[in-house]
């Protein structure tokens, strides 16, 4: 597969406030590098992530979306990440149906102590998305003039 | 009421007493056991290997026949019960086995464990009812202290067999009470009698049987009763107590079988 050298993907990372956002902070504190393509949106819990947000990102030109939450069993709200996990499983199947490559969405559990894991995950995810190339864009026909 | 019945090889030869008195008693209690046409030997030991397909098929054939007749399948011999019940569990739970067995036997309607497998004792307990049975007893075995010998195959593994509490079973004791006898509880009642190892290693099998019988005797048993022909054989070879099939006791209590214990 040909790798497009000039392609810089747009990647949205949803991070739960209690574990993964703090994990991302820690990778910053430890000066662990990961690509600037990754932009983080803070949400209170992974269960706040409405799958609609991911579809919206793909409509607006995101090439990859990653959800990070507390490890199963460690959720600040006890069960939030279990809900997130189930919802994402359904979304994956929908994205398959829509023809968006499976690798473009990912769920990772990153604790507040796992700065290194956060950076490694983002490096790996960016590499994957770069390899996949630009995403085919979903169209929001509601906003289109017919 | 008529139930499909799987007698098994031994009940046609060495264990005719188990079979005959079982059928006659059940008839007297209002239930006809109708032998499955063209049943085949169950194989006597359950193949524990996941990839043993052919050796489990005769059990599946019997199960399918019962399903097609629309009645539960009643067994009497512990070994047959064990094999058929576990084959039924496997076909319901193990997808590979189910698809391969169905591919091999290619029945009109694929089989996936619909038949109900009942041991004779379960029919006595759940269909006839021990209270009802005790009312029909003509010659109660009053005062006879009998040790119920369960052995292994009816009880274990309990997850599949789901027959009774594997460590503290009560069905045979309840049966003995229903026919007026006094059950003797002893710990070795669910320990092995020596099984088929009796063929190669008679001494060992006899020591096992002796341990069972000695424990029962020490707890006050005058005799033992069992549902398994091989257990009966081993206990007779190595044990110190008289051992009879439970159907013989039943027939005697119901006034069908003459003679003293």
């Amino acid at each position: 597969m040909q790798v497009n050298e000039t392609f810089t993907p747009t990647i949205v990372a949803f991070c739960c406030n209690w574990c993964s956002y703090a994990g991302a902070d820690l990778s910053g504190t430890n000066r662990l590098q990961y690509p600037a393509n990754v932009k983080i949106i803070r949400i209170p819990c992974s269960c706040r992530l409405n799958p609609m947000f991911i579809l919206r990102a793909f409509q607006r030109g995101a090439d990859g979306v990653i959800l990070c939450g507390c490890h199963p069993g460690d959720c600040h709200y006890t069960t939030g990440n279990y809900y997130a996990r189930r919802r994402m499983t359904l979304l994956f199947s929908l994205l398959d149906f829509l023809g968006i490559e499976r690798e473009r969405t990912r769920v990772e559990w990153v604790s507040a102590a796992e700065g290194a894991k956060f950076a490694a995950t983002m490096n790996d995810f960016t590499e994957t998305i770069t390899r996949l190339g630009p995403n085919r864009r979903l169209e929001d026909l509601r906003c289109k003039e017919v | 009421m008529t139930y499909a019945y799987f007698p098994g090889c031994t009940l046609k030869t060495k264990a005719v007493d188990l079979d005959r008195w079982g059928r006659e008693s059940m008839e007297a209690l209002g239930i006809t056991l109708e032998e499955l046409p063209q049943w085949q030997c169950c194989g006597a030991v359950y193949p524990l290997a996941k990839d043993e397909i052919a050796s489990r098929l005769s059990a599946v054939r019997a199960l399918m026949a019962a399903r097609d007749q629309g009645t539960p399948l009643v067994t009497l011999c512990s070994a047959c019960h064990h094999v058929i019940k576990r084959a039924n569990c496997d076909i319901a739970e193990d997808e590979t086995f189910r698809s391969r067995a169905n591919a091999y036997l290619s029945p009109e309607t694929p089989y996936s464990g619909e038949a109900q497998v009942l041991h004779y004792l379960e029919v006595l307990r759940d269909v006839v009812g021990f209270d009802n049975l005790s009312r029909q007893v003509k010659n109660p075995l009053t005062g006879v202290k009998i040790g119920a010998y369960y052995g292994c195959l009816l009880l274990r593994p309990s997850r599949q067999m789901a027959f009774d509490d594997p460590e503290n079973p009560t069905i045979l004791e309840d049966f003995l009470r229903a026919i007026g006898a006094q059950p003797v509880i002893y710990a070795q009642r669910n320990e092995c009698c020596g099984g088929y190892v009796t063929l190669e290693n008679q001494g060992f099998a006899r020591s096992r049987a002796a341990a069972v019988a000695d424990n029962a005797a020490a707890q006050g048993a005058q005799m033992l009763t069992t549902a398994c022909p091989l257990c009966l054989y081993n206990l007779q070879q190595g044990g110190s107590l008289k051992t009879v099939y439970f159907t013989e006791l039943l027939a005697q209590a119901l006034g069908l079988k003459e003679g003293a214990l």
Binding site: T10, V12, N17, Y21, A22, A24, D25, L26, S27, G28, T29, R31, L32, Q33, Y34, A36, K39, I40, I41, R42, I43, P44, C45, C47, R48, L49, N50, P51, M52, F53, R56, A57, R60, G61, A62, G73, D74, H76, Y77, T78, T79, G80, Y83, R87, A119 | R159, D165, E167, N168, I185, Y186, A187, Q188, E191, D214, N215, A218, Q219
Partner: protein, 663 residues
């Protein structure tokens, strides 16, 4: 029209070294709605904060974006800053351009570009921020402790010491719990009663503590600071205020053959009884299932002998309703039933006992007066076999528990040691899978049992116990010795796994507190909030949260008390304003949100809505209690009609961020 101010912090060189802060401020000033944009060395400094306040006033800002370090660092600081300048504190957003940008990138161009995008996302979000007001709710200054074992007693004493009234609800006729049945405690071997009973008396005499014994919680309503609890005080047919605890009735009662729960059925009690000599409250209780007067209307002996006139056969259950600010669950544990483990012949021989039964057999106040005798024939046992891990560490299924019960290794070492100490003529075997002794002086204790007291510790398990000829024939494995052992034992003692008390599950439902699959209460955070339930205002004390020994239980009990006190000293509670809020016009009352809410914050109300042609329709719509909602947002996604949204993290706000990033 929004008037947004953007403040880009240099953080000395932390940000400014890799991000062109001036450029960021310049580019962001072009964003729609931005009326002011600047950069400064240290925004969090006094001067920086004053600069922000000045700008808010001067430019009549309606929203503030600060591009700086992580909001986890200074969000609270800057909220106060803007609030002092008269802006609602929730009209502030922070773009994290330090941890998430300058610190992880080296190329200045890239980092600057990213900082701009992060700033844009924050601006997009702040456009949609609404002023939020943190609500206040009052706090009832009284605590309820459910369960009167050592955990409940300790928690109640600590709360009472701090000056707050506290009620203990105990289902049994006396407080004290499991510890009253224990003989000696490891690793010090001091007598359990000697250290527990003074605490029971303290609790009874403390003015701030009200003990409701022989009572259970029936209904819990409300939320943190404002619980309303209904308690059923069961009829004990004895007037607690009149009974002096003299015990005459318990001697004269003709019903003598009732298994004594306190001694685990190893001896009998009467139909009217006081569980044990040091019971608190020390009053008699009539067991209605066995009392001839209550069953058949004939007898009345206790009433005749009672000089205090305390017997009241007509007493009824009493329902008490009280208000509490905090609730502590201290429901404790039970050993599991040995029904499913009859390979050890527990049901076949009285000489096979559980460890708790063994405690009673060793206890001076127990059925044998402290002399160890075989229950079957009252003779002195010579060979004792202890089996560990009975029902612990099992793989699923109904049989046994998956967890380690934690206390068994130590109490078994204690039993073995005490037996050898009191009766040097005994042989004591302990079959173990692992010996787990993590605790202060614990391993030393176990080693003493082996080295000084000569207890035979054997790595292996017991596979079968056969009662025969007055002995228990034990068949076991000795894995290190590579042999199968056959021991003729006189007694077999089973270290039964422990499980949460049966009352915990219905209590958790009433509290909307979460439980794990084993019915232990779940803590708010397994490491950092170990004594709080995720449900605000509910705290956990003792073994109801997980298996624990006495010192751990007491430590947790005091910790729970500290948390309760921290809540009760407040006059009112500030609620997190970022809570869920339903759009009642869109809500169809389907209950999806209620089902996913881990806090029970969502209820439903029937409300009138205008229908067509001046009609009114009553519809069932969701109501969120902002004092209970913790703002996780699970409900917002579960809502099929999109009626539920989360303040501060609304669908529109998050979508705006997505749009800004993907632009």
């Amino acid at each position: 029209m929004q008037r947004i101010g953007v403040f880009v912090c240099w953080c000395g060189s932390n940000i400014a070294a890799t991000v062109d802060v001036e450029k960021v401020a310049r580019v962001l000033s072009q964003e729609p709605g931005v009326v002011y944009s600047t950069d400064y060395q240290y925004m969090c400094s006094q001067a920086g904060q004053e600069m922000i306040q000045e700008a808010i006033r001067e430019h009549r800002l309606t929203g503030v974006v600060i591009c700086s370090c992580s909001p986890r660092m200074h969000e609270a600081t800057f909220r106060k800053t803007v609030e002092k300048a008269g802006l609602n504190p929730y009209l502030l957003e922070i773009a994290n351009i330090r941890e998430h940008c300058s610190w992880i990138h080296k190329d200045k161009l890239t980092a600057t570009e990213k900082a701009v995008i992060l700033g844009r996302a924050a601006i997009a979000k702040v456009q949609l921020n609404a002023p939020l007001t943190a609500g206040k709710s009052p706090v009832t200054k009284r605590a309820l402790v459910i369960g009167g074992g050592i955990a409940g007693i300790q928690t109640a004493l600590d709360i009472a010491e701090a000056g707050f009234p506290v009620d203990i609800v105990e289902k049994k006729p006396t407080i004290g719990g499991k510890m009253t049945q224990i003989d000696k405690t490891f690793p010090t071997l001091d007598c359990a009663a000697c250290i527990l009973t003074p605490k029971m008396v303290d609790a009874a005499q403390n003015e701030n503590i009200d003990i409701l014994s022989y009572a259970q919680v029936e209904k819990i309503q409300g939320f943190v600071g404002n619980f309303t609890v209904t308690i059923r005080k069961k009829a004990r047919y004895v007037d607690e205020n009149k009974c002096t605890g003299c015990g005459l009735c318990t001697e004269k009662c003709p019903q003598k053959k009732i298994p004594n729960e306190f001694n685990l059925g190893l001896d009998n009690r009467r139909a009217i009884y006081i569980p044990f000599a040091q019971a608190v409250p020390k009053v008699a209780t009539i067991d209605p299932n066995h009392c001839a007067m209550l069953q058949k209307g004939k007898c009345g002996v206790c009433a005749k002998v009672c000089t205090a006139g305390a017997i009241d056969y007509k007493q009824q259950d009493q329902l008490i309703t009280r208000e509490y600010g905090a609730i502590v669950a201290a429901t404790g544990f039970e050993p599991i039933s040995m029904d499913k483990f009859d390979e050890f012949a527990y049901s076949q021989s009285p000489d096979v006992v559980t460890s708790l039964e063994f405690e009673r057999l060793m206890n001076a106040a127990g059925p044998t007066g402290g002399t160890l005798l075989r229950p079957s024939d009252g003779t002195h046992p010579h060979t004792l076999v202890f089996v560990q891990c009975v029902g612990s560490r099992c793989d699923g299924g109904e049989k046994g528990k998956s967890y380690c019960s934690k206390i068994c290794c130590m109490y078994t070492a204690k039993h073995a040691m005490l037996t050898r100490e009191k009766y040097p003529d005994t042989e004591v075997y302990v079959f173990y899978i692992d010996v787990r002794t993590p605790g202060k002086s614990f391993d030393e204790f176990y080693r003493r049992a082996v080295e000084e007291y000569g207890v035979h510790y054997i790595k292996g398990m017991v596979g079968k116990v056969t009662p025969q000829d007055g002995k228990l024939k034990v068949q076991a494995s000795d894995l290190l010795g590579g042999r199968q052992l056959h021991i003729d034992a006189d007694m077999v003692i089973l270290a039964a796994a422990i499980e949460p008390d049966k009352s915990a599950r219905p209590l958790a439902t009433m509290l909307t507190a979460s439980m794990d699959t084993n019915d232990f209460f779940t803590e708010a955070h397994p490491k950092l909030r170990p004594v709080e339930s995720p449900t605000a205002g509910v705290f956990l004390s003792g073994a109801c949260q997980g298996p624990k020994d006495i010192p751990e239980t007491v430590a947790q009990a005091s910790a729970a008390a500290a948390k309760v006190i921290g809540l009760l000293v407040k006059d009112s509670l500030t609620c997190n304003p970022c809570t869920a809020q339903p759009d009642e016009l869109m809500c169809n009352g389907c209950s999806s949100c209620e089902k996913v809410c881990p806090y029970g914050a969502i209820t439903y109300a029937d409300k009138p809505f205008r229908g067509p042609n001046r009609t009114t329709r009553i519809r069932r719509v969701a109501q969120v209690n902002p004092a209970v909602c913790q703002g996780c947002g699970a409900c917002t996604v579960a809502c099929p009609s999109g009626a539920m949204d989360l303040l501060g993290f609304s669908n529109k706000q998050i979508m705006a961020e997505v749009d800004a990033i993907c632009r």
